[in-house]
């Protein structure tokens, strides 16, 4: 039965087609992922991949890799990237450009802001079903916390905590200039 199963298992997929994007915002860019759900062969490899393309001034909301290390390779353009370690220290704060490689360990928080018309990268992740958790945005960790945890944890008012939780409506990509998705502060 190997001929009909393992031998014929699909082992290629194209991540450069915007029409199959998982996250798509015409003004900001797109993100496509490839994991063991979309390419079952990856279950054996325990690896997955993510293709990203950002337009100028677009930003990937700060996030961390829940269950994988990430190897990021820039294929086009430039971006400013900040990475924060478990000690809360900024361990990377630089512009990265085409041809450069950055390894981001599991749990470390990362934010990317495009600084060219088209910033594109490929990330390889060391888990076939790699997950991220965002720090800001509609599906972020702060959005899932009660207001009381935010007010006591950060020593801020209830109104400030509400803004922190609800002002950013996007889930993954946003404008770094801050105008997109912003709700009234009133």
């Amino acid at each position: 039965g190997l001929e009909e199963t393992f031998c014929t298992m699909r082992c290629t997929d194209n991540l450069d087609d915007p029409s199959r994007a998982d996250v798509y915002k015409p003004q900001l860019g797109y993100i496509s992922t490839l994991n063991s759900y979309t390419l079952p062969m990856l279950r054996f490899l325990r690896l997955s991949a993510l293709r990203g393309s950002l337009r100028n001034d677009a930003m990937v909301l700060p996030h961390w890799n829940v269950n994988a290390n990430e190897i990021l390779y820039v294929t086009n353009g430039q971006a400013h990237v900040q990475v924060v370690n478990d000690n809360g220290n900024r361990v990377f704060d630089q512009q990265i450009s085409k041809g450069q490689l950055l390894a981001i360990p599991q749990g470390f928080a990362v934010a990317k802001t495009a600084q060219s018309e088209r910033f594109e990268w490929i990330s390889f992740k060391t888990n076939d079903n790699a997950k991220i958790n965002t720090l800001a945005g509609r599906t972020s960790v702060l959005r899932g916390l009660p207001l009381e945890v935010l007010t006591n944890g950060f020593q801020i008012s209830v109104e400030e905590a509400r803004r922190v939780k609800f002002n950013t409506l996007e889930t993954t990509l946003t404008h770094s200039s801050g105008q997109s998705g912003r709700r009234s502060d009133a």
Binding site: L61, N133, G153, F154, I156, R163, S176
Partner: protein, 236 residues
């Protein structure tokens, strides 16, 4: 990394080697370099949360299994991609006047509860009882969910740890800050669409309360009543 660590000629009783004191509790940590723990591939800690203490949201590089030794409280976890299923609004409209808050599931904790938490999932705990809430946890640092080194690593979303991660045995230990403190406040202001001074507040830079803080005022998170608890409002 796992050379001869299980060649054990003698087993010993282990005591905590580090104590992190916080405003409303303490965290006791067993030295995971102890041969028995190295062999088992685990680390161990015990957190004591005083009444009205709040263990601020933290995630780890390894899965953990916890047991409530004493006390009672509330616990919340934030799982990526899950909806805020606990919502408090008069008309069901979250943008309306009656809206107060919405967040992910909150659970009651009591003595004997065993809690499983995967790596990378942040968790907070509040002691709403009258006695210390004591929770012991084992961290499976040898688990394949941990893709870092064989050390337990805590990532704080709020609060901090002024003593630093002393169990890592680094020659120069520095205070541990929360994950927001490493970002430029401008980046946070852009990401959250908030004012710069609020972004700086998120960094807890002038905060020395540790990772267990005392709650100011009522802790009115949305939660279902426990069995036998009186309802505050009567429906018609």
């Amino acid at each position: 990394q796992w050379g001869n660590e299980c060649q054990l000629d003698q087993l010993n009783v282990l005591e905590p080697s580090h104590v992190l004191k916080c405003e409303a509790g303490r965290i006791e940590i067993w030295d995971h370099h102890a041969p028995q723990l190295r062999c088992s591939g685990v680390s161990f800690d015990r957190i004591v949360i005083e009444p009205q203490g709040l263990y601020l949201p933290t995630y780890f590089n390894a899965p953990k299994l916890s047991f409530v030794v004493n006390g009672r409280g509330l616990m919340g976890r934030v799982i990526p991609g899950c909806a805020e299923t606990f919502m408090d609004s008069a008309g069901g409209q979250w943008q309306g006047q009656g809206f107060r808050d919405m967040h992910q599931k909150v659970e009651h904790l009591r003595r004997g509860d065993t809690i499983a938490n995967p790596a990378g999932i942040s968790q907070w705990i509040h002691n709403n009882g009258n006695e210390p809430l004591i929770i012991v946890s084992v961290f499976d640092i040898g688990n394949n969910q941990n893709q870092l080194d064989r050390n337990p690593r805590a990532f704080h979303l709020a609060g901090n740890n002024p003593q630093g991660q002393v169990w890592l045995r680094k020659s120069q230990q520095e205070p541990q800050n929360n994950m927001f403190s490493g970002f430029d406040p401008q980046v946070l202001a852009q990401a959250f669409k908030i004012k710069l001074n609020t972004a700086q507040q998120l960094q807890n830079q002038k905060d020395n309360r540790g990772n267990i803080v005392r709650v100011q005022g009522p802790f009115g998170v949305i939660r279902p009543p426990v069995r036998g608890e009186q309802r505050q409002e009567q429906d018609n």
